[in-house]
């Protein structure tokens, strides 16, 4: 900073500490709850220090299937698959279509661009019923395909790759052509290696996106074998008024939110890049 003002620096830290407390508080309470036994949480006497029951609670979450949900490990497996398929699918179809739109001139190119663009304007929330009907008619209810395919069309990923390809010098493609590389060889040998960081950053963002999906899996799965974690923990929480086992619920909630949170913390650079660039 330009000048040194100790009181301002102190104030800055104070603001940030309060901010961090606000941000951390709900998760801290959930963590604490997950370390106590079933009877620790009476009215308003929710403990604020960790207990010693974390391991027991985790074991119970992993071994006992709660009412209304599927086995935890199965839901975690489904969430993982869903996130991975959505991530891979979005990246593959977006990078291919961006490649076609930037490196070819063909009749219908602009139309294709606009069709992709339109997906931005039609979030799944506004076309719930007809999309559900399409998936049902295709016989994709209760399947990984039904869970993922309708979510993998992505204008933002296509735009990100398009923007990146436009910054790749024209001469690189010309040199590759002179060197005897056809379109797909150029794509594989030159463009794909150059896109590595962009792909990695997108992977981080899209994995989180896929992991967080809630409404869509809730619509297309009726078979508990296809429940995802987000649905599962909500279903577990929903029956809690009758059966206040908050310690177990919070253990499950913490475990369900852990994978994407760890990704953000440990891949912060890629995460920031992915988030900032997809929104450009």
């Amino acid at each position: 900073m330009v000048e040194n003002r100790p009181w301002l620096t102190f104030f800055t830290h104070a603001v940030l500490v309060i901010g961090v407390i606000i941000v951390v508080f709900p998760v801290y309470v959930a963590l604490i709850a997950s370390t106590h036994g079933p009877f620790a949480m009476g009215s308003g006497r929710m403990p604020l220090l960790p207990g010693d029951q974390l391991w027991n609670n985790v074991v119970e979450v992993l071994t006992e299937t709660r009412r209304g949900a599927a086995p935890f490990w199965l839901m975690a497996w489904n969430s993982l698959w869903m996130a991975v398929i959505i991530t891979a699918g979005k990246i593959v179809i977006s990078i291919l279509s961006a490649f076609a739109i930037v490196y070819f001139r063909f009749p219908g190119r602009v139309l294709a661009f606009w069709i992709i663009f339109i997906t931005l304007m039609l979030p799944v929330e506004v076309r719930i019923i007809p999309t559900f009907a399409v998936v049902a008619n295709l016989g994709l209810l209760n399947s990984y395909l039904g869970l993922t395919i309708p979510l993998i069309a992505s204008a933002t990923a296509t735009f990100l790759f398009r923007q990146f390809f436009m910054t790749v010098p024209d001469e690189l493609m010309e040199a590759a052509r002179v060197d005897g590389a056809g379109p797909m060889k150029f794509f594989r040998d030159i463009l794909l290696p150059l896109s590595r960081t962009n792909i990695a950053a997108l992977c981080v963002i899209l994995f989180i996106f896929g992991w967080m999906q809630y409404l869509w899996p809730m619509l297309v799965t009726t078979d508990p074998n296809y429940y995802t974690l987000m649905m599962g923990v909500k279903r577990m929480a929903a029956v809690q008024d009758a059966d206040p086992q908050w310690n177990i619920i919070m253990a499950a909630v913490v475990m369900a939110m852990l994978p994407p949170v760890l990704i953000v913390i440990f891949m912060q650079r890629l995460f920031v890049k992915g988030l900032v660039e997809t929104e450009k």
Binding site: M1, F104, T158, E279
Partner: protein, 294 residues
């Protein structure tokens, strides 16, 4: 729309390349959206055997329905509150982090991770905190004479979803404000300091005006977020209640259509929301174009 200076000679290949994306978009986006528009003009008989064209009557009825009009009002309150709260807090935090050098990364990490908490989990967390029998916040509020009960009190329920939705969005806004501030050239700050402006004056006269593209961008994104992505928050906490008090537009589409099976009305609501997203997208892209030129 640009291509490269030279392009590959093309026969079928580019069509093959765009085909997966286009086919998925047509089947799962365009066609369902078309269906929604179509059925918003139709009425199905009780057995689902025949449909008849009813023109704008679903729309007319919607705008005469006090429940729908109330839902619009609640959505507006919710969207505005979440946008203002989450952007305000995020801006303060971003300004603070931007002042620091050594500890900036640590604070950033601590503030960024809630992005990875899904809306439905955010809902569950805050529901737990506000739960009237075990929650810690009602206990604390009772000392201030507040008898918290979001299961009966509509205002309390609204506050609950506003808090949960804002909490989750702080990280996102923080990140973009911070990125925006870091792109303000340090030399401008230094020049202003030489011109005798103190830190607060510098922020309001130099940094904040230069942040206006970021602020505007976040405004659009946050409106979009509160209108659509908060479905999980609401479904995990109030499910639209009590007595419709938190039944915002997107949740109403779901309850009327998927649960209530009122296809025509739900479709008309979908179409209205689509028009809203289209408007937001157009505004956003017109502005992005200008930003590119700038």
């Amino acid at each position: 729309m640009d291509t490269k200076r030279t392009v590959f000679p093309s026969q079928g290949l580019p069509y093959l390349l765009v085909a997966p994306q286009i086919i998925i978009t047509l089947i799962f986006f365009i066609w369902p959206a078309g269906q929604a528009v179509k059925s918003s003009f139709e009425r199905e008989d009780p057995f689902g055997l025949a449909t008849s064209f009813v023109g704008l009557s679903h729309y007319v009825r919607l705008f005469q329905d006090p429940a729908y009009l109330a839902s619009i009002g609640r959505t507006a309150v919710f969207a505005l509150a979440v946008t203002v709260i989450s952007m305000g807090l995020a801006l303060i935090l971003a300004v603070a982090v931007n002042r620091l050098i050594r500890s900036a990364t640590t604070y950033s990490t601590l503030l960024l991770w809630p992005y990875a908490v899904s809306p439905v989990v955010a809902g569950i967390l805050w529901w737990f905190l506000f739960n009237s029998s075990t929650g810690i916040l009602p206990y604390m509020l009772s000392f201030f004479g507040v008898d918290w009960n979001h299961q009966l009190n509509g205002t309390h329920a609204m506050i609950l979803i506003i808090v949960a939705a804002s909490w989750k969005q702080i990280s996102y806004n923080f990140l973009f404000f911070l990125a925006g501030m870091q792109s303000v050239p340090q030399s401008l700050n230094e020049a202003a300091a030489i011109d005798g402006a103190g830190p607060f004056k510098r922020f309001w006269t130099i940094v904040f005006p230069l942040l206006s593209p970021t602020t505007f961008f976040l405004l659009i994104v946050n409106l979009n977020y509160t209108m659509f992505d908060t479905f999980g928050v609401i479904d995990a906490t109030t499910t639209g209640g009590p007595n419709q008090a938190t039944n915002i537009l997107v949740y109403k589409v779901y309850t009327d259509g998927y649960i209530g099976l009122n296809l025509g009305s739900s479709s008309a609501q979908s179409v209205i929301l689509m028009l809203f997203v289209i408007a937001l997208t157009v505004i956003q892209f017109r502005y992005v174009e200008r930003r590119v030129q700038y």
